[in-house]
């Protein structure tokens, strides 16, 4: 009996090892495919032009060359644009998370009039490409002389119309309807107002979701070139905008072979 059980257990164990091996194999394989472009970027950024042209050199540069990085540091105004990028995306993502949390809370917990209509609107907004509303938004902000100031993108974020806001409203809606209503009711009995329930109970209950939406909107705002470039304009340069300007200018003024160069430069700083 005992021996039989032992045998069964060792069998299960070896099966486990096999599946684990398969999983590791898959993970490492997929991981390599994931990393390949990054590795390519990093290696290429360390090469000199001679190494780039030389077809025998693929993965190992003849020597480490940091001039690309130095150039990029100067050309991109790195400290300034990094600082701009950081505070701009942080403020936008905070504003977006907060407004989406409010909307999600209302949709999840209150009998808002015409709720289904608003949910359909959420989906419609989601489906409409952002490009469709870009020009009218520009005209609107131009009328109020807000083009050129970061407010032009912070305001939409603050009112839940930022980048892909609908997703966040949906996620918050599900998160707020996931925890029992009894918590709210208990707080209400203890005399807490609606705002207090929202800040002291609803938000702390959904910290993971808040973090998730903060991270996503931070990344999306950081990488946003289209909206930011159009609405905020030339005076305010974030890192991706500077990058784009650099690619464009170097593509314009250099011959095709060295048009590869900006890639090299840019890959370095990412």
């Amino acid at each position: 009996m005992n021996a039989k059980r032992l045998k069964a257990r060792t069998q299960a164990h070896s099966k486990n090892i096999l599946t684990n091996l398969a999983v590791y194999f898959l993970l490492i394989g997929i991981g390599f495919v994931f990393l390949y472009p990054l590795l390519y970027m990093i290696i290429t950024s360390l090469m000199t032009t001679e190494d780039l042209i030389n077809p025998t050199i693929k993965w190992l540069p003849t020597h480490l060359d940091l001039t690309n990085f130095k150039q990029v540091w100067q050309v991109l105004d790195y400290p300034i644009s990094l600082f701009n990028s950081a505070w701009y995306s942080l403020i936008c993502s905070l504003a977006q998370t907060f407004s989406c949390a409010l909307a999600g809370y209302a949709l999840a917990r209150f009998s808002v009039p015409a709720k289904k209509f608003w949910i359909v609107m959420l989906i419609i907004i989601f489906i409409i490409p952002a490009n469709v509303v870009t020009i009218p938004r520009y005209v609107l902000f131009n009328n109020y002389q807000l083009v050129g100031s970061p407010l032009a993108t912070i305001l939409p974020a603050l009112t839940g119309q930022g980048l892909k806001s609908s997703i966040f409203v949906f996620i918050f809606m599900s998160a707020f309807s996931a925890y029992p209503r009894a918590f709210d009711e208990a707080a209400q009995l203890d005399g807490a107002g609606n705002m207090r329930i929202f800040f002291r109970i609803a938000l702390p209950m959904t910290v993971p979701v808040i973090v998730l939406s903060l991270v996503f909107s931070l990344v999306w705002y950081w990488n946003d070139v289209a909206q930011c470039g159009l609405l905020i304009g030339d005076d305010f340069q974030t890192l991706p905008l500077e990058l784009k300007a650099l690619t464009r200018s170097s593509a314009r003024c250099s011959a095709p072979p060295s048009a590869m160069r900006p890639t090299v430069l840019m890959s370095g700083i990412r």
Binding site: L38, T159, S174, R270
Partner: protein, 282 residues
């Protein structure tokens, strides 16, 4: 008396709700709805920029006719976009779910793999992606030397074209799947070990466990009927009704939404990309 009070509570409820919604509602009106309608109006007009601002003159559906008949790039762009969405969306979903399942296992170095898999989400950005694609860093390294590739190449064109497309863009697919992966992973973590345990006590195999636990995640209410995401996950509803684990559904609502989120996010990615494609290559 009693009835009156309940009505006032209800109105109060909807009032507070509307108050919470108000920032979003204002934003919807000012930053999305009015601009959208204005945009549609502009598309029916001939617009000229003069010294005294924009001059608009109504021309009806002329631009719409022209885009289909006279524009050399539009139809090609439309075709590319459709191809992209049809081929990428299912692939991204599948890849996201597979990766999330792998990353959800208790393995050594799990954190390392998670960071590795989510890293591209942070790196991806317009200019950098463009450059990587144009330098062909996103295609598998000289894939045509592999035997599988040659076999696929010799298949009939209907089969081989989409397969080749996927092979050529495999890195892109993986990179686009980053966000969805995170979302699915969050959903999987909500399932909890107790569910798996219960299933294995019942003598289920892994795959059955998976299916049924996901069934427990199926949308409980009207989202299916609304058809926001037909096909795909809707099927699980049937399992959920017959299966005892469906009790757990309430617990899993976040996960359900997370699945919806994944789907919507894929759509967003597609939409965003189609926008990029439709723009002038300059």
């Amino acid at each position: 008396m009693k009835k009156k009070r309940s009505i006032s509570l209800k109105t109060r409820d909807s009032l507070v709700g509307t108050l919470f919604m108000s920032p979003w509602l204002i934003g919807l009106l000012v930053f999305t709805l009015i601009p959208f309608i204005y945009s549609v109006w502009l598309s029916l007009c001939s617009v000229e920029f003069g010294p005294d601002g924009m001059q608009t003159a109504f021309v009806g559906g002329r631009w719409y006719k022209e885009i289909f008949s006279a524009d050399a790039y539009f139809l090609q762009a439309l075709k590319d976009t459709l191809q992209f969405i049809v081929l990428f969306m299912p692939m991204i979903l599948v890849v996201a779910i597979i990766c999330a399942l792998l990353l959800n296992k208790a393995l050594h170095g799990r954190t390392f793999f998670r960071i590795l898999f989510f890293f591209p989400v942070v790196v991806i950005s317009g200019p950098v992606m463009e450059k990587l694609i144009s330098n062909q860093a996103t295609a598998i390294i000289s894939a045509d030397t592999y035997y599988v590739y040659q076999v696929i190449e010799n298949l009939p064109a209907i089969l081989s074209t989409p397969l080749m497309y996927i092979f050529d863009n495999i890195v892109l697919i993986l990179w686009y799947a980053g966000v969805q992966m995170l979302i699915v992973l969050a959903g999987l973590q909500k399932i909890g070990d107790s569910l798996y345990e219960a299933a294995s006590i019942d003598g289920r195999k892994r795959l059955a466990e998976l299916l049924e636990n996901h069934a427990a995640l199926s949308p409980p209410d009207d989202f299916n009927r609304r058809g926001v995401y037909g096909g795909g996950f809707g099927r699980h509803d049937q399992y959920a009704h017959v299966h005892p684990y469906s009790k757990q559904r309430d617990e899993c609502r976040t996960a359900i939404f997370v699945f919806r989120g994944a789907f919507l996010a894929v759509r967003a990615g597609g939409a965003g990309h189609s926008g990029d494609r439709l723009q002038d290559p300059a």
